[in-house]
Amino acid sequence: MQDTMTAGSKAVLSSDALQALIVALARQGYTVLGPRVRDGAIVYDEIASSGDLPAGFRDRQDAGRYGLEPREDGAFFGYAAGPQSWKRFLHPPAQTLWSAQKTPDGFTISREEVSVPKLAFLGVRACDLDAIAIQDRVFCEGPYRDEAYATRRANVFIVAVNCSQAGGTCFCVSMQSGPKADTGFDLSLTELLDGTQHRFLAEVGSEAGAALLAELPHEPTTGAHLAAADAIIDNTAKQMGRHLDTDGLKELLQASLSHPRWEEVARRCLSCGNCTMVCPTCFCTTVEDHTSLDGFSATHVKKWDSCFTLDFSYVHGGAVRTSGAARYRQWMTHKLASWIDQFGTPGCVGCGRCITWCPTGIDITEEAAAIRASQCVKEESDGGA
């Protein structure tokens, strides 16, 4: 069987093989990042063994609310999207781009070396795979390729995990990004728990994934395994905590720029920027120049920025988006409408993080639905007139 592993090949792993997987990745020089419990949440961080995984925990998510609860079934991956996405590893919150040094006859500039650790992401959900694909397009496919991102990205090994339960703010089905990981992984796993046995259905997504799977103790699949995995994904798809009707949404939003709903949501919006920070596709940055006290050296630093800050839209003479309504409208219409004009797909993958991690629980699906509902009322009354 080992000899015939190719993309699309499937095999069954015991739950013990998870440890073997982590060890094999580490042996290949990867730093393994995966889910673990920290500060009352399931976060993505460095893991050393399968014992670090959040077995025994599930998350409970709603608009502006997150908490952990115990679970009895021993599932390693029985939770939904975490507080932050994998973005921070590929697109770090702060990076020094270059530094300059004063010399007797001028100055020299040195480019900052990009540290390129080999990272293995364990437990990437379908929505986050789609988000990574979106950031790949943003950073690598335009005229101004981000070499630092591209270099980091090329060194990542991705183990996807198909979701066995949806979170309270999930809507990947609406965005057609999940719950099953179809592409963009080296290896994907579906956790199979039937009360007596704890196994994983593994699927190969790349040559590197095939080679890794061949190293792990595995068994051939049976029809029952495949049916069980399909049933899990079907069941997850039915559990979506949120729904977003995307039919004609781009045109609807772009025709609703003066809608009163923007003012209404602005009364609840804190302009804190949390939604943009937790969004796995939001990519905006600012740059800062720092100088030393002696005036001999300087650094040029790139940092995550947010369209909810005033400086973000500052042009000569002042900020363009001074109202909360303008800032929220900018963010939401970019995600769901103008992103399509810019990059060919929406900038939203339905992970639900912006809903869960908004301190006042503003729900992008609810805001879109409210605008749609009022437009429908308007069309009906227009039609009747």
């Binding site: 919006c269 804190c272 940092k303 800050t309 005033l310």
Partner: protein
């Protein structure tokens, strides 16, 4: 370059606890570089060698609470090319601005054996209420990294990188899990960044030491606090601390009927 005279620095104290000017002395790693870059011309807390003005840069700590100080700040302004206020007292009036919500005469008679010895104003006001201020550095106390940033920027003739957005952005950059979403009331979403989001990293809500952020929606934040179970009294007290006299925090504290 070495022939150029060093800019002259003065540090002034008004009604305050000295914590912010101590932040300058606390810049252990950078202190020698600071002393090399500027002439410390007037800094009584650090040296008894005091030179007369004018000064290129004045750091002003503390609020104005006496008629004497209201006069003194005018002279400081006259003597200073750049005037930068440091900390919540100088920038918002400080914790002592709680007097603005009460009758200072009653405080004096309750606290002092000889109230007639006390000459004080009815209010504590920020430096900007008295003279034009070039830059306000927030915090109770200020962040020494921000102080060094301001000094470096002024020396280089560039704009300092002092962001006015929320503490949340600092929280997210440092990968702290949001305490508010997990049920702990936090002032971070309405509070000016600068501290590096210290309290949430210790699983505490933000206390608002840096005062209101650039576009504070305190009403929406206070409403969310209510949903998390905070009483009106807790909301009033949270907005009414070191930055109680900052406009946005003052108004919110007055909106809860206590």
């Amino acid at each position: 370059m070495t022939a150029r005279p060093r800019p002259r620095l003065a540090v002034w104290k008004f009604a305050s606890c000295d914590g912010c000017q101590l932040s300058l002395l606390d810049c252990e790693d950078e202190l020698l570089a600071v002393a090399g870059a500027v002439e410390i011309a007037n800094f009584p807390e650090a040296s008894s060698a005091i030179s007369d003005g004018p000064y290129d840069l004045s750091l002003v700590e503390g609020s104005v609470t006496t008629a004497h100080d209201a006069e003194r700040i005018l002279e400081v302004r006259k003597q200073s090319k750049f005037l930068v206020t440091i900390g919540a007292c100088a920038t918002a009036g400080g914790i002592q601005a709680l007097r603005n919500f009460a009758d200072v005469g009653e405080f004096i008679s309750a606290v002092y054996a000889r109230p007639d010895y006390i000459k004080t104003l009815a209010t504590s006001t920020p430096i900007s209420a008295h003279v034009p201020v070039d830059l306000e550095l927030r915090g109770c106390p200020i962040d020494k990294g921000q102080l060094i940033e301001v000094l470096s920027a002024i020396l280089a003739g560039r704009k300092p990188n002092i962001a006015a957005y929320s503490v949340c952005i600092e929280c997210k950059r440092r990968n702290t899990v949001c305490v508010m979403v997990q049920g702990t009331p936090c002032l971070g979403p309405a509070t000016h960044a600068g501290c590096g989001a210290i309290c949430p990293s210790f699983r505490r809500g933000c206390y608002g030491c840096f005062g209101p952020m650039e576009t504070p929606n305190t009403a929406a934040l206070a409403h969310e606090w209510e949903l998390l179970g905070a009483s009106p009294q807790e909301i009033v007290r949270s907005f009414r601390s070191f930055n109680c006299a900052a406009e946005a925090f003052r108004k919110e504290s007055e909106a809860h009927g206590i």
